[in-house]
């Protein structure tokens, strides 16, 4: 299908953060020429601050960006002309982590503890929900912004737990330092499930690019399938993209990430967006409800 495209379309795609195994399908599609096959010339850009990509998409400086579903709700609520056009990782990655050798067996034991997080905008709400779900008074825990240093803060004992860690990555990082971790999964602790990594595009110019985005999602889909089929070869291709990626932690994270990739990146689960929006509205995180069509679209729908 894509092979027949005589003209190639250039796309600037901004990741949410430095290249890491969560971005595997993008990197693989690039490395294996899958984008080319779909008539796309894709430039991948990493930011250092995850809040920047949505702004640049909204301002029309890049075409697509990776962001997070909870943030999308806030962004749209703030009036940014953004819309989800695809899903990279279809489950939450967010976990609350404690050291396995600590006395914290469940979220209930977090009462009175200190919890580190990295500011993303919604950590407090998510954590409070989890705590309340477990009957813990959120006021009894001390929340500490440790920014980029989640793992060090936990393993060095500066905080008792961290939240907002990624299950595919931080656990591997802890293991690397010889510390076993215990994870509490957010969707098991009272928070509605959501898509962790999504592709967002500018709503105002969506129609002119719909075709390119559809091809882009198809390429991601192909790349994902190939990774699942060839995980080891995939790892090699991934590290060939940037030799600096070749670290033991990344390798672990690579295999941890594979089961998390959306098999149908373009597919839209309307219920998830409705439910999560309702959750945020109830928690006072957004001012108003938007129709799902303002939040997310299926680029393949006629």
């Amino acid at each position: 299908e894509g092979d027949s495209a005589s003209e190639t379309t250039s796309l600037k795609v901004m990741l949410d953060w430095y290249t890491n195994p969560s971005h595997a399908p993008l990197v693989i599609a690039q490395q294996r020429g899958i984008f080319e096959r779909y008539g796309l010339d894709v430039e991948l850009i990493s930011p250092a601050d995850p809040s920047v990509p949505p702004k640049l998409v909204a301002a029309g400086k890049v075409d697509l960006a990776l962001s997070y579903q909870p943030q999308l709700h806030l962004q749209v609520d703030q009036g940014l002309p953004l819309v989800r056009v695809g899903t990279l990782i279809a489950t939450p990655l967010n976990v609350t982590l404690v050291r396995a050798d600590s006395d914290i067996e469940s979220m209930k034991d977090l009462a009175g503890k200190s919890i580190g997080y990295s500011v993303g905008g919604v950590e407090k709400v998510l954590l409070n929900t989890m705590l309340e779900h477990n009957g813990v008074d959120p006021a009894s825990v001390e929340m500490v912004n440790v920014n980029f240093a989640l793992t060090p803060a936990l393993i060095s004992g500066k905080v008792d737990a961290i939240t907002g860690a990624f299950r595919n990555f931080e656990l591997a990082q802890m293991a690397q330092e010889g510390v076993k971790g215990r994870a509490f999964y957010i969707e098991e602790e009272g928070v509605p499930t959501y898509d962790e990594l999504i592709f967002i595009a500018n709503r105002d110019t969506l129609d002119t690019h719909r075709d390119a985005y559809a091809r882009f999602m198809a390429a991601i889909e192909d790349a994902t399938a190939w990774i699942i089929n060839h995980p080891d070869e995939g790892w090699k291709a991934f590290t060939a993209y940037d030799p600096a990626l070749d670290t033991p932690v990344n390798k672990k994270a690579w295999y941890n990430s594979i089961p998390r990739f959306a098999l149908r990146p373009a597919a839209l689960d309307v219920r998830r967006y409705k439910a999560f929006e309702a959750f945020l509205l109830e928690r006072g995180q957004i001012k108003a409800k938007s129709p799902v069509s303002r939040l997310a679209v299926d680029v393949n729908r006629l």
């Binding site: 909204a58 943030q71 703030q78 500011v119 912004n145 440790v146 920014n147 803060a153 060095s156 500066k158």
Partner: protein
């Protein structure tokens, strides 16, 4: 009255800046979530008063503490460098290196050692101020006119008194220049500290607002921060002038 006079040019500048900012926003059509217009920011400011002042209070403490410690340790280092020559050969490069290290790189270490409380942020603000103060003071201390040093020698001054009663006052103009500059940088130090690890203060508020795309709130916090910076500059300036009644820098050469 004289306060008003002193701050009037600054006010004028700020008003000009606000005007330019508003025009820029209108003309260039930058979207609100990148650069909100001053009026939007003013609204956010009004709407979030208690929140802003709460966080501002914390940051102010960090800034002022950092400033004082930075001033004192910077001046102390400069004096030590001028006093002990062996020290200079090794301490100066260390100082230089400390300046050349981006604070962000050290932040995790500092946080680990000092925890996520106020101390770490004060240390960050201190570090930002420390080098410019130490460096300009030291430069000033080195440039005492030879005649005064000769005089001190024949009058039988020991090194310590020569340093404190001759070189230090002679360096005051240079020192004032360094202090003024450092004062306006202090808020940045505190904010970086808060970015790296904190759940309070204007830096945290900015980070959080930014993550939540509340850019107007972020700019309102920024506005307070900048006001601190400017106020600190002028306060330091006034204090340094007080310290030098004999000195007339020609603000108003024709």
């Amino acid at each position: 009255m004289s306060m008003l006079k002193r701050f009037w040019p600054a006010l004028l500048g700020i008003i000009t800046l606000l005007g330019l900012w508003q025009i820029l926003v209108v003309v260039s059509g930058v979207p609100d979530y990148i650069l909100p217009a001053p009026l939007t920011v003013a609204q956010a400011f009004a709407a979030h008063q208690p929140l802003l002042w709460h966080h501002a209070g914390i940051t102010v403490i960090e800034i002022v503490a950092g400033l004082l410690i930075g001033f004192i340790s910077g001046l102390g280092t400069a004096l030590a460098l001028a006093r002990f020559h062996g020290l200079r050969r090794t301490l100066l490069p260390i100082l230089l290196i400390s300046q050349a290290v981006p604070l962000f790189a050290l932040a995790p270490i500092l946080m680990l050692w000092l925890g996520y409380g106020m101390t770490a942020k004060i240390v960050m603000a201190t570090l930002i101020i420390y080098f410019p103060v130490a460096s300009t003071c030291y430069d000033g201390l080195r440039q005492t006119p030879q005649g005064w040093l000769d005089l001190a020698q024949t009058l039988g001054a020991d090194r310590r008194r020569r340093l404190l009663r001759i070189q230090l006052p002679a360096a005051l103009p240079a020192l004032a220049s360094g202090m003024r500059m450092a004062a306006s940088a202090a808020p940045i130090g505190a904010v970086i500290g808060e970015w790296v690890g904190s759940s309070q203060g204007l830096g945290y508020l900015m980070l959080n607002a930014n993550a939540r795309m509340q850019v107007d709130l972020m700019f309102a916090a920024l506005l307070i921060l900048v006001t601190f910076g400017v106020a600190l500059y002028f306060t330091t300036d006034a204090l340094m002038r007080r310290l030098m009644p004999w000195h007339d820098d020609r603000i108003s050469t024709r």
